[in-house]
Symmetry: D2
Subunit: 362 residues, 4 copies
């Protein structure tokens, strides 16, 4: 069936290939009355964009968002919002050779097996270019979450190879090209990335995402649990290999007395649950951690087969990110925001008239 | 909206509370002609059941499956399959007190915030009792996958607290109460679990799930990727806090030259991808790892609040598992089987007439 | 995929065959806090039941509803509501012969072509027995619509063969076995039906359904329009061949000046629209008309083929309704109620925070 | 939630307002390998377009389709197909006044009640302009149905006011501006329409749609029945007030012996069922009839209220169709084609491996 739509009630459908004429999305189910303008998309699209520093791919896209529908006199009308971004810097010649080879670690082999044909230009549909539209759609979600509920969503890189932040300063995150929360390590990271880039190799990364001020009660047991949908959302991002909520895999070695977050009228004593219990938000911060694999597009040669099944050596010469995780924080934020707004609408549908009976602990 | 259905084309809807009269499910979209009998459910339900060893909860349920519809003369007819399991060993009195307290680490607080009321008996809908129906439904999926595609799905416990298997012997897994792949460690585990149970505390676990013989081409980009749906499926299981595909979080510290699985006419050189590229199966084994938190139901007292918002001390006196992960392998298998069969049908819908053009490497 | 679920946010999944052990349904997405008891189902199930007069099939079913889940201390909890009705008067021997013949006008031929096998007992899944669960599920929807919005849904038979009501008295509808709104015609109808039954033939009927007090604003353009969903809901009922909203086919011969319902501060001047404009409720009565074909199960012989493709003569000897439309009003009400509640929840999801800006005309 | 997507496995999402910058759609789930080019859209879009004769609205749109994605080297790739049509002849000034009035028979009043604001330009989202994208999307569906299954879908106008075709000649339908199957009546219709246009009034119409060569077995009981989905599809078209399958409302006065279509090895003796039994195609022609109301946009004054609730007189001065039904045949064909292809994929998903066991009667 293919499934290029995300969300149940706030439904985002994306389309477009990396080197096709355009990418775009349709946002259906958006509440009416939200103020939105073309320039609102600029900040997050710039945060996600390539070519902003030497540490990312050197593809330069204007990423100009055209609002095609669903907005009238600056406000959403409740009808589907069509967004369009033209591709302008698509150098298809870079990819001409790989049409006949399967790049290891890429979707070339699997797309051809699935569909019987594929668009090889820049990875076609499997390119991370698609995530542009996730970020664009989430601009509206982030706005709604913030304006109506005071919710903020923020992501940062919490590991590159073996390097971890020594400290955590939220204000530092947007001040360096690594979304890194400790400004004192930026020089070290730049040196590391420069050396990596020169080596022709790539490396993985971990991204942490936090949502603050989510009210208790969001999430749809049993199969639409908040954590289940966050896991799917993150895993749908290119290059993701793992997702944790709260303590994550750390919970394997915890004792129950350590893991369970004790409660008092003053609040929870800890947050190993990551703000979700039984698939429903508890009012604590939603915390999520995501593992990104190292880019598979490398100029270091590697063994593979061609479309005739013969062994060949592949070298990827296009523009690529030595560490895709470095551009991932805005995408992770986008997915978390889309999940949260969708869950908010779902909760309102079923429980919109529930009077609060439970005490709210801070 | 609540969402008690799983899957898109093979759609399983479960219902029932831990201490209500019954639990059940409806399986919709199942292909006709599959041979199925009530006794086919026995083996997997017994594997999942409590009370089979002293290391799990001592609730004893017969778990007799009644087929209510969708099967005629021993074969599925294509109409919805209704399955019913009566609850027989539900001791509601054990839970009378907790109706007025929020057990830390449980869904009590969040359910009450969401719905404004809750069924406190045995955790109601949030109890792991619900997973019985996942296992039952997956019996049919496992059969179809095996008979039509030769696919097998197998899970084992790969970590309890700090203990990891020293060796791996698939044949050993079903021979001990821990789904443990190294028989030589069983005595050690029994001692560990006995001590844990006596201490009144609980512990986390890691479960690995493997699907073999999955053909290349299954998975629905972009938002129905095979790995995204596996992540959601696993995260929807009670007590799960993390999911990895292939190298998982290990990919964070890998270099691209190490992570990318090189290819030759003889096959893939490694499987860090976990059998999935671009959200589509590659023909390699699908490998997935799942983190289970320690049970929060403990007879060791803990601080919490009551429904009036006052601080209280809670002790959970019901029957509980000191390590819920120990019973999870059949549930993880079930979820992976349901995802795979659903994806198989989705792939057939869109690409059923695609002639193979790509070479298949073994 | 098969699709045995109805509704998007209030989602009813039915299962069960006419002569299997039981029929049932799962209602997912129901708001919490609705008071519901087993006896609440009695009235509507009796209205739908066969065997209450000599003018319907003589199958006698107790139709006892067992609530399996989702209700605690007399109130819905927001978790899925499982309802079960055991089949008690299923005489499968009546149908033994038809397993090898295709009854004209029945689903025998099409089910066998679709699924490759079928349950022939009493029509299996294609029997109108399935509608029992629609009526049961709608008991909850009717209650919610009435209690929260003052909405009532009422259906009556508006034509049997060529006979039409001379007058309309809503109070008369429930006072005769024909759901007929003019008591003065009941004797005539009884004579007509007695003669029809003796002849061995059957006849069609028209049913009108009206929902009152629906607020303006319900309905989901473009493909979830209120009228589109009503049409699908009615057409999904066994034996339905046509659906009209408001003026229906009468609109074909109307002029625009006649059809358009003029408006004034005192209200609409007419209701040719049937209470729906642009797929959204206008606040006027929702009016719908449904055509039921004559039963195809007849004891008068007819030509057909058997499963070997050979010509045979078929006589249906089971218990059947000479005019299925006579039992349809509760089913039509049920479907309209389910559509309306579902639409109400969908509207609340997207527009729950819309402040009224439009004048409401009565 | 709003629902601007149609279909389950072949999923068409449309967006765009009548007088916004563009309209468009995304087609998801389309099988790969279908040959498609921009010029393939021309014929059907021209058939639907306004301004081709003096009997339709004089809006002149080029309706140039740009393929934004999902097609590579002339073939569908299995990824979402984005189609875009720029609006070029949108005279918004025509509609400036009606922003403050509710046109009787239009969606103005209901949209404002639902969303709290609306785009009044040309009816915004509720304009029939949206159907352009249905026709465009269905070009692909029609091609697939024809190439793979030999299925054709054809619609014609079967009634305008009281005028019905005297004869039926399929070849005549495309030869006149009325999609009328009897060429001898065209002059009469032209005179009728000229007089109607001069009068300032409008009139209703009936459209018949036929699908030929549909194989038996398509349709998804119970709630995804082929006839139920056709009913929803047709009722979702602007101005539709009724839908019939086969005998339709004529079945109300039929006897069972007349209505049931007897069968023999040579085929069915009649087709009152309209090619659908039990919600599944029988192999006979699918026949459907649709009622279109007269346009409500009239230059004859009518009473209404303004947005302040005050009585006003409204005259609609924009460009409108005196009989919208005259442009509806391509739209009805489109909806039937989309339903059929969607059902074909759904059938293949569940029953793709069913070996034929039933005899096929011609």
């Amino acid at each position: 069936m293919s499934d290029n739509s995300f969300g149940r009630l706030l439904r985002v459908t994306t389309f477009g290939e990396s080197h096709g004429p355009a990418i775009g999305c349709v946002i259906d189910g958006c509440p009416p009355g939200i103020a939105i303008a073309p320039e609102d998309f600029r900040a997050d699209l710039d945060r996600r964009a390539t070519g902003k520093s030497r540490h990312t791919s050197q593809r330069h896209e204007a990423d100009e968002v055209e609002i095609l529908s669903g907005v009238y006199e600056g406000r959403t009308t409740g009808t589907p919002i069509g967004l369009l971004v033209r591709n302008t810097d698509a150098r298809s010649k870079d990819y001409s050779k790989i049409a006949e080879q399967f790049r290891p670690g890429h979707a070339d082999y699997t797309y051809l097996h699935k569909y019987g044909l594929r668009d090889p230009r820049g990875g076609g549909r499997s390119s991370a270019r698609e995530t542009t539209m996730r970020v664009a759609a989430a601009v509206i979600a982030k706005k709604w979450l913030r304006d109506r509920h005071g919710i903020t969503v923020q992501a940062h890189v919490s590991q590159i190879a073996d390097i971890r932040p020594r400290g955590f300063d939220a204000a530092a995150i947007e001040g360096n090209p690594f979304f890194w929360p400790d400004a004192s390590q930026v020089a070290e990271l730049e040196a590391f990335m420069d050396a990596l880039r020169k080596s022709g190799d790539s490396v993985g990364a971990r991204v942490d995402v936090i949502a603050r001020n989510v009210p208790p009660g969001w999430g749809e047991p049993i199969y639409g649990k908040l954590d289940a949908e966050i896991a799917a959302a993150m895993m749908s991002i290119n290059a993701v290999k793992g997702v944790e909520i709260g303590a994550g895999f750390g919970a394997v070695t915890q004792r129950g007395t350590e893991h369970r977050d004790l409660m008092s009228p003053d609040g929870f004593a800890s947050n190993h649950a990551g703000g979700i219990l039984g698939g429903i938000s508890s009012g604590q911060d939603i915390t999520c951690s995501v593992a990104f694999k190292p880019t598979s597009s490398l100029r270091l040669p590697g063994a593979t087969v061609d479309t005739a099944g013969q062994p060949v050596e592949v070298i990827t010469t296009g523009r690529h990110d030595p560490c895709v995780g470095l551009r991932a924080p805005p995408i992770c934020e986008a997915m978390l925001a889309l999940v949260l707004m969708d869950q908010a609408l779902r909760h309102r549908a079923q429980c919109g008239d529930v009077a609060p009976v439970a005490p709210r602990i801070p």
